[in-house]
Symmetry: C2
Subunit: 377 residues, 2 copies
Amino acid sequence: MEDSSDDASCLSLQNLGSSSPGRKQNKENTITVNCVTFPHPDTMPEQQLLKPTEWSYCDYFWADKKDPQGNGNVAGFELLLQKQLKGKQMQKEMSEFIRERIKIEEEYAKNLAKLSQNSLAAQEEGSLGEAWAQVKKSLADEAEVHLKFSAKLHSEVEKPLMNFRENFKKDMKKCDHHIADLRKQLASRYAAVEKARKALTERQRDLEMKTQQLEIKLSNKTEEDIKKARRKSTQAGDDLMRCVDLYNQAQSKWFEEMVTTTLELERLEVERVEMIRQHLCQYTQLRHETDMFNQSSSLWTSCFEKWTQPKTGSCGSESTRRATSALWTWRSRRAHAAPGVLPRRGAGGAMERRWWVPLPSGAALSPTLLPTEEREG
Amino acid sequence: MEDSSDDASCLSLQNLGSSSPGRKQNKENTITVNCVTFPHPDTMPEQQLLKPTEWSYCDYFWADKKDPQGNGNVAGFELLLQKQLKGKQMQKEMSEFIRERIKIEEEYAKNLAKLSQNSLAAQEEGSLGEAWAQVKKSLADEAEVHLKFSAKLHSEVEKPLMNFRENFKKDMKKCDHHIADLRKQLASRYAAVEKARKALTERQRDLEMKTQQLEIKLSNKTEEDIKKARRKSTQAGDDLMRCVDLYNQAQSKWFEEMVTTTLELERLEVERVEMIRQHLCQYTQLRHETDMFNQSSSLWTSCFEKWTQPKTGSCGSESTRRATSALWTWRSRRAHAAPGVLPRRGAGGAMERRWWVPLPSGAALSPTLLPTEEREG
């Protein structure tokens, strides 16, 4: 927008027409900035806001802001548009941030899953071996949880944030141009008013001069001139009136557009913030569920069960129970084999199965002593 | 151990001395395997276990196991030692597994902390900006939690598992050699018994022959021979008796050592499994606490608070509250500046602060219309 609020343009209307009390009043109670006429702050009671109960865009951003860089001015409406576009950018950056989080979760899950496949201590035996397998499995469970988390983050947070308002920038440009055009029209019509006002003043001065001449000496010619001058003055008055009407129409149009558009922009901002709010809550919710799931994850419960079940105090107790059943299967397989001496040894037979084996029914053969020889006397 | 249970060495004692009923009995109720004499399984009632109520190392591993590769035998005791060393190895591998988990946690924490420093969407404003900052901060909190987790895993699980029983292998070798020596002694003394038995048998045969000669024709020389032969037979009998005593001493010593050492090995295994059990529970406990902490972690609560506090329905409502206070500070700073027209414009002044600014007291100047000129008639 090319408007500028340099002092030159900050004309009051004091030069307008003759100085009748009515005009004086008029002069004091309005002030024009950038071709927009405001009621004068000093002489008027403070004006009611359009939305007195809340802060609303439509009650501000009427005036322009001097550019910090000093060159030219920025229209208040332009600032609102910039805010909107910045909001769109923020929303995209949040989406990118979530994508980074997703990558981290995927990497974490990948490493946990890989480790759960690791063969370290896989040869541990008995119930301890089972518990160890549980510990490994639990890593796969954790990996699963974090993978689900990252997938939901993608579909329920990252994507919605990224795809919200695809053509927003284009839409903003549209209403930007719309308001800008109205401001241009306002400027040109203000110029027309100024021009017509000058013309009228000249005509009035001419009419007055001719009237004075008439008082000195009467002549038909002068009579004619006065008639002509009065017609021209009337003409100029009509012109100014038409210009002022056109200007006022433009200003009302701009005013209505400003109110409508700023309210729309406010609605859009409310919508954006609400959308982001919902998705950040969704994020925290997913994060929360992840922890909850990890906790109830099969491992911990089943692992604690195993360890809290009564132990006989011997590490063997559990693994032996396994060994026993192992032994029975072994013995049933051997059932028809000739019961030689060594096979009937628990140790001998059992060792075919595993490191630890009981005898069938406690018939362990512990060493005995040789009898001393009796000598024949 | 070089013992071998080939059938040759499985001699019963049937050749021992003369065939009196006592010796016959003796022949049937013992059997010798690898120089160890057991009561014969067929003729004896099943023997009581040393620990009938539980599975215990000391009731098994008396016999030897044929090597799967077929070459030679492995003593039952050797199998126990192998199991012990394998247990030590398993414990070390579990520690290495935990170290891998620690690395994963450290990597995860590093990435979360890095992301929490990321500047994406840092320019978001108002209470939404605050909430977003909270989301970022929460990543630093999570990183902290996982870093603490990995540190505790290191000090409370990985290290104890790694450092448990530093010189275990050396200790095992010691008792390995000790038992092996006893087995060697047993073998040599068994051989000595066999030798003495043969000698005695010869002497007895010689004595019988000379006695028969005496019956045919009497001569002093023969009388002398018989005395001499009887003396030698008595000598051989004494030798065998001494050898049998030595053998029996060796076997008792080996028997006691086997019982004592296997019970000690069992105690060590119980200790190892209990140690590992405790540290795996510690691992699950730490894992559990991590989730708990994440949940109670400041972010979620405070973030939910913020979002559940009543909203006025306008996104402006909160950010504007901030804007207002911002405005006041701005105005107090400007207090002594000459109140020109533009500074008193909310928009004008406020824009120096932020995109959104209310007027001091609702004195917005919305446009007014120019009056139509009155013409002088």
